[in-house]
Symmetry: C2
Subunit: 464 residues, 2 copies
């Protein structure tokens, strides 16, 4: 039974300051807002969930929390994989799900202005109607929100050529740690007026403010993609193929790796017939226009072949090509069907991909843990997926040891502990190991400067 008593004054204030229907305190409903998709990350019981509809309502929530000393945990669709949106005890979970307006799409300036709760795919679809393209495409694009994408600086498949969310955020409106509603950034193509507060908010995982509006840069729609599939009998061969593509001077528009475990899981679920043919599949794409695209696709194919692919072919059937990428997108939910999945997210130098895949294999053996691999291989961003039988506590302990070892090996190879999923709760120790005490002190100084009361998402990222 949820006990409202300690939060009675806060809840009364929220009800009084917000229109009817914005405040949720029903425990059953709140349970659905208490955590994101990060397995095993701890979460607490919020005092309330609020679903504001305007920036001014968000500001009222923040001010109420400031007055009552309650933490604000902001949440988009809850598809995060690091526990960044997990509730802390007594916090107000602020869901942006009702702020779904696409306020403007401007084809001449090539920008869009959206509320934070707009789903990534919805924005992409709306842009496509005007021959425009919003590139960032996390695998969660059908569900995750632009606000959440901005808060985590989400990556995706096309980063290898087009960069990450940060590269597309021109400006933000947000509520500050002192309850002000401000705008930072711009809607011009360039601008250097003052510090890059926009970029600082991007990837800050809800610890510096609540984003209420996002201005994103768009690109013109691009040429149709050519797809190349390569089947390999070892992850190391596939890793060499990735290095060969980079060395050939090609910038693919996607270069994804899927290993046998993922293929089998997808097959078991969707019966796509993928897993009988390869231990590892590489999927490459190029969107270079016209003949250049054909040439690049052929270069990618030859790189696959030269690195020892057992089969390497340019797909001439767009449906088949899309199916291959759909399989990649389905890998995570398919594996979840087998048991709790602990998702890793490391990024290593491209040249270190074969070595890192080898070390992951050794870690799996050492800790007797099933580790499947999907990877944005083209930029060295690997997602080892650690799978344990439901309810098997010793297996769980072994998986967690493997998780930590993977982080350590990524750092040893000059990599980072998180390529695109964020620090949240799961990578706090890794962050400290990666950046060292002096840079942690700089991070804390920035947090204290912008959130002097420690209001936003306490305990996440920096650990306090």
């Amino acid at each position: 039974m949820h006990d409202e008593a300690p939060h009675r004054e806060l809840i009364r204030r929220l009800h009084s300051d917000l229109p009817e229907g914005r405040v949720v305190t029903d425990p059953g409903v709140m349970a659905g807002y208490a955590h994101d998709e990060a397995e095993w990350a701890p979460y607490g019981n919020p005092a309330a969930v609020v679903r504001p509809r305007t920036a001014e309502e968000v500001q009222r929530v923040v001010r109420a929390c400031l007055d009552h000393g309650a933490a604000v945990v902001t949440r988009g669709a809850g598809t995060g994989l690091s526990g960044g949106a997990n509730a802390v005890d007594g916090s107000v979970v602020l869901s942006t799900e009702a702020m779904t307006a696409i306020k403007q799409i401007d084809p001449l300036e090539r920008l869009a202005i959206v509320e934070p709760g707009v789903v990534n795919d919805d924005l992409r679809a709306a842009c496509a109607e005007q021959d425009l393209w919003y590139p960032p495409d996390p695998a969660s694009a059908p569900w995750s929100t632009i606000g959440g994408n901005v808060a985590t600086n989400a990556g995706g498949l096309c980063c290898v050529k087009y960069g990450v969310t940060r590269d597309y955020v021109l400006g933000l409106q947000f509520v500050t740690g002192t309850g002000e509603l401000v705008r930072v950034g711009r809607r011009t193509a360039k601008g250097v007026a003052g510090y890059d507060l926009t970029g600082l908010l991007v990837g800050s995982e809800g610890t510096l403010g609540v984003i209420t509006e996002v201005t994103v840069r768009l690109r013109p729609s691009r040429a149709p993609e050519h797809t190349v599939a390569g089947f390999f009998s070892s992850v190391v061969d596939a890793g060499h193929a990735v290095a060969a593509v980079a060395a050939a001077g090609v910038v693919p528009s996607a270069l994804e790796l899927i290993d046998r475990y993922c293929l089998e899981a997808v097959d078991a679920w969707k019966h796509m017939g993928l897993s009988t043919e390869a231990d590892v599949v590489l999927l490459g794409r190029t969107d270079a226009p016209g003949k250049a695209g054909e040439e690049e696709a052929e270069t990618i194919r030859r790189c696959f072949e030269g690195a020892g692919a057992t089969w390497a072919v340019r797909s001439t059937d767009p449906q088949e090509a899309d199916a291959l990428f759909e399989a990649r997108r389905l890998a995570y939910p398919a594996l979840e069907r087998l048991g709790p999945v602990l998702t890793e997210d490391i990024c290593v130098p491209k040249s270190a991909v074969p070595e890192m895949l080898g070390r992951i294999h050794a870690i799996a053996e050492r800790h007797e843990t099933l580790i499947a691999n999907i990877a944005h291989a083209g930029d060295g961003n690997l997602h080892p997926l650690l799978i344990t039988p439901p309810g098997d506590e010793p297996a769980r302990a072994r998986a967690q040891a493997a998780f930590h070892d993977i982080i350590a090996e990524a750092l040893a190879l000059g990599g980072t502990v998180t390529g695109e999923h964020g620090v949240g709760l799961l990578k706090r120790e890794g962050l400290r190991a990666e950046v060292g005490p002096e840079v942690m002190a700089l991070n804390h100084a920035v947090k204290d400067a912008l959130d002097p009361r420690g209001l936003f998402n306490p305990g996440k990222v920096l650990g306090r």
Copy 2:
């Protein structure tokens, strides 16, 4: 005569902590380090100029300044146009000119690691030898340094397609406001571990730390460019041509505007025979590969023609095309021959370019000031150049009034007070007008967090 007395202890400390030849106190030599290229921005007398050769030497300078309460003004090549590198009285001017090592160019990871004093064109040339390309290309590229480019988030001609310096900085080493030597960022393609301190340092104009090493992202060398020249009889027609190119879905690799005053000044100097034929020239380029490039060039040409160009042609002669771009690059020094030039740097929405050019014309008439225009027209970044006869004080006052009016009109049209030159000293008032008191407070909070002693470049950007 320079009086060392008040700074005797500081200078003794610098001499004692640094190798022979690093510390300069000769007034004649120091005079050449006291200001950048911003006409009319005030500057003071430094206590000393230091030219460290290593990151550790930079750290020793910063620690000496911390201990003696002296300000640190960091300086690259001194090509800035906002006074950001101008000395303040009693400061130590830290010149990075001797830190010119290109430490690494890695073709597989597509990155370079350089010291801050490396000249932009030198890095570009070294990359080209390995079929790699460092895109940011400010007009000052033959002289300006990567450190200065990073500190000001320099733009350039190819921003319209390839973005600005910030988009290429992966990681930094810098000395903090407490005298620590730290590394931020990464050398992997992606990474979200902690706040984006790298991005925060970019464009901070020497107010948050002293950059001692820069890791930049590179691209593969690109296809040869096609050049399109268009002659127009009014800036407003040229502005419409810019809008037409954007509306056609083309992303040119450069789209530059040069008006008659600039053409005449270049002609008077270099006898290129440009100015007799047009009031305004637009130069468009595309580097799309193969046939796509030819098609885009033709699209640009048709856009020029449709907007009323008196002459629009695709250049088939690379030498001629390069000469046109050389004329654009020479515009600023050519105008400087005529008298002191006050360089504006505003950025407006692309659709507002014709209106803004019209308002600049009206401002020129109202204040009886000669205003020439060069512009990165494709991204709305205009550089009105205000020219006064040498020694004419009333003309100078009128030009300054015009300068302020241009800033006000840019803001009125939804633009920013500085597109790429930075705030420095000249745009401090404009910055306050643009962002408002709440965002100024956030800027101050960041400054205080990272430079708690107010050591770095006091008085610049934020005004204290």
